[in-house]
Amino acid sequence: MASITLEGIKKTYAGGVQAVKGIDLAIEDGEFVVLVGPSGCGKSTLLRMVAGLETISEGTLKIGDRVVNKLEPAERDIAMVFQNYALYPHMTVYNNLAYGLKNRGFKKPAIEERVRKAAKMLEIEEYLQRKPRNLSGGQRQRVAMGRALVREPAAFLFDEPLSNLDAKLRVQMRVEIKQLQRRLKTTSLYVTHDQLEAMTLGDRLVVLNAGKIEQVGTPMEIFNRPASMFVAGFIGSPAMNMLPVEYLATRSADNLLDDLPAGTDIVGIRPDDMHLSAPSAPHLVVDSTLELFEAAGAESHLYVRLAGSEQPTVIRTGGGEPPVNEGETLRFYIARSALHPFNRESGQRTG
């Protein structure tokens, strides 16, 4: 059990490419923090620096009260789950779990006890004598988790552990990881590019872009108040629509948009904040052409082109039949309170 503190962490590769451009982050003891961002944003590099697999170019990394910048991965008291699991192919599941303990000089009975305990927790007891190649993807995933568990480390590091699983299994393992972490209360740092995974797993999210932190907060904070256009576009699916203020101003009868914070020239609207019936609160009215109707069961996605601007926009509604036929005009309403004001140039939220 330990906290993890990152102070001004930077990673510069030979050749001057800066992958991580100064990260400050304090992860509390027992917290589940998810690093999320598009590929190439430096999230994996950051995780690997915490693990000790990449050197830290600048900054201080503390696990607990120890500065661990120069320590080998094994000395940092962390355990890591890899994307491709990295199970030792020639060892049985039992030996895969036991290897780290053996290297640490544990006695046989102690190893046996810990392996049994972890295997029981992950329900892989029946596979202990098998080789990894005789396991399914989900079972391998469990073994990889088990290898991290047996060590009872101060922190778990997960590097996109679910991305090799099929959709159904991914949801199931997501729930299990969450439950496991709740039960063990081990500090965890989890890297993913899947915003749904990030939202559902994390106590806190860290949204990264181009080697820098865009926003840190609880999933709902980030969803409800994205700090920048990048975060707004990245979190939430379908992505938030971005409409220029000038366009919307011409669409509202009253001066509803006059009180937007200074500097606002673009507003974001979530696809579910666009309604097909007028709300009672003050709202905007926009006409559009329905281009495509996508039924996804409990919800439907309407792909529309706005009248007078041709901008493609997505609306999310409850399931059911299309309100109008494709190609026909569709009128929708946006409550004033649902607008997220941004400045286009700085990309930041204005208020």
């Binding site: 094994a74 355990a79 994307q83 990295a86 192919p89 020639h90 290897y99 780290g100």
Partner: protein
């Protein structure tokens, strides 16, 4: 391909059987020749059925050799060849797997240079550098010794190169996982990398064993003492008796026996091969 054309089936099988006959017939003739008395083979008509001299021929070759031609007993030459081939194969694999390990897994200065230097020695097989190598071995007093027979042939760019290529396909995460699990470099090498490359080692062992077994030029140069003759040299000596009718039965018996160890190695290692091919990891 699912095709049901009986004519094609017959044709392909005929070609296959023909191929097998072409390859196997000389071996068969050699075996037959080794079972007849000395003169049978030079009379003009090849006998195609085994003779009754098998026991005599083989026991003479294995036991006392053929002193007239200056060939030592066959068992001595066979054991010399075995020692030489084994030392070369094991030495080559040990050295090249370690150097490939260094080149792939360690970041040190001039790493690439080291690799290219090793790679360039591909262009310098023993035949090219035979005179200087002979001089070195002679000056070190290693003529007529197993060290002289094997050492100059051990350093191997091919094997290093193959291991390097293989190591680069081993997922890096295995190394990282073992680092997190507290294994140092040599422990990783011993516990993870060696077991993972066992099928490659087996393949190279077969190739290198046969390479060592068929060496002719180098043993010819460095051995003058009969105690260090290899079996390939022995065959040559038996044939070289120009003023006599070659004793084909004895020569062929030597040839047959010389084939046994390489065939054994291939057969034994083939099991590992097939295992490695059918049960691929990852």
């Amino acid at each position: 391909m699912v095709e049901n054309r009986p004519f094609l089936n017959i044709l392909t099988h005929a070609v296959l059987i023909l191929g097998v006959l072409v390859v196997a017939f000389p071996v068969y003739v050699a075996f037959i020749a080794s079972t007849h008395e000395p003169g049978a083979f030079v009379r003009g008509v090849l006998p195609l059925t085994p003779g009754d001299n098998l026991w005599d021929t083989y026991s003479q070759m294995l036991g006392s050799g053929w002193q007239v031609a200056g060939a030592p007993p066959l068992w001595l030459m066979l054991s010399n060849s075995t020692i030489m081939a084994l030392t070369i194969a094991i030495g080559k694999i040990a050295i090249s797997i370690l150097s490939a390990f260094a080149i792939v897994y360690f970041r040190f200065r001039f790493r690439l240079l080291a690799f290219w230097i090793i790679f360039i020695t591909l262009m310098l097989p023993v035949e090219v550098r035979i005179i200087p190598t002979y001089a070195v071995v002679a000056n070190l007093g290693m003529l007529n010794s197993y060290a002289g027979l094997t050492l100059p042939l051990i350093a191997s760019a091919t094997a290093t190169f193959l291991f390097r290529q293989f190591f680069m396909t081993v997922p890096e995460e295995l190394m990282e996982a073992s680092r997190v699990d507290g294994a140092g470099p040599m422990k990783f090498f011993k516990d993870i990398l060696l077991p993972v490359s066992i099928t490659n080692i087996a393949a190279l062992f077969v190739i290198m064993f046969i390479y060592g077994w068929v060496q002719y030029l180098w043993p010819l140069l460095v051995t003058t003492d009969e105690d260090f003759y290899t079996v390939v040299l022995g065959i040559k000596r038996l044939m070289a008796s120009s003023d006599r009718v070659p004793a084909w039965n004895l020569i062929m018996a030597t040839v047959m026996l010389a084939m046994v160890p390489p065939v054994m190695v291939v057969l034994l290692m083939q099991k590992l091969f097939v295992k490695g091919l059918t049960e691929t990891e990852k």
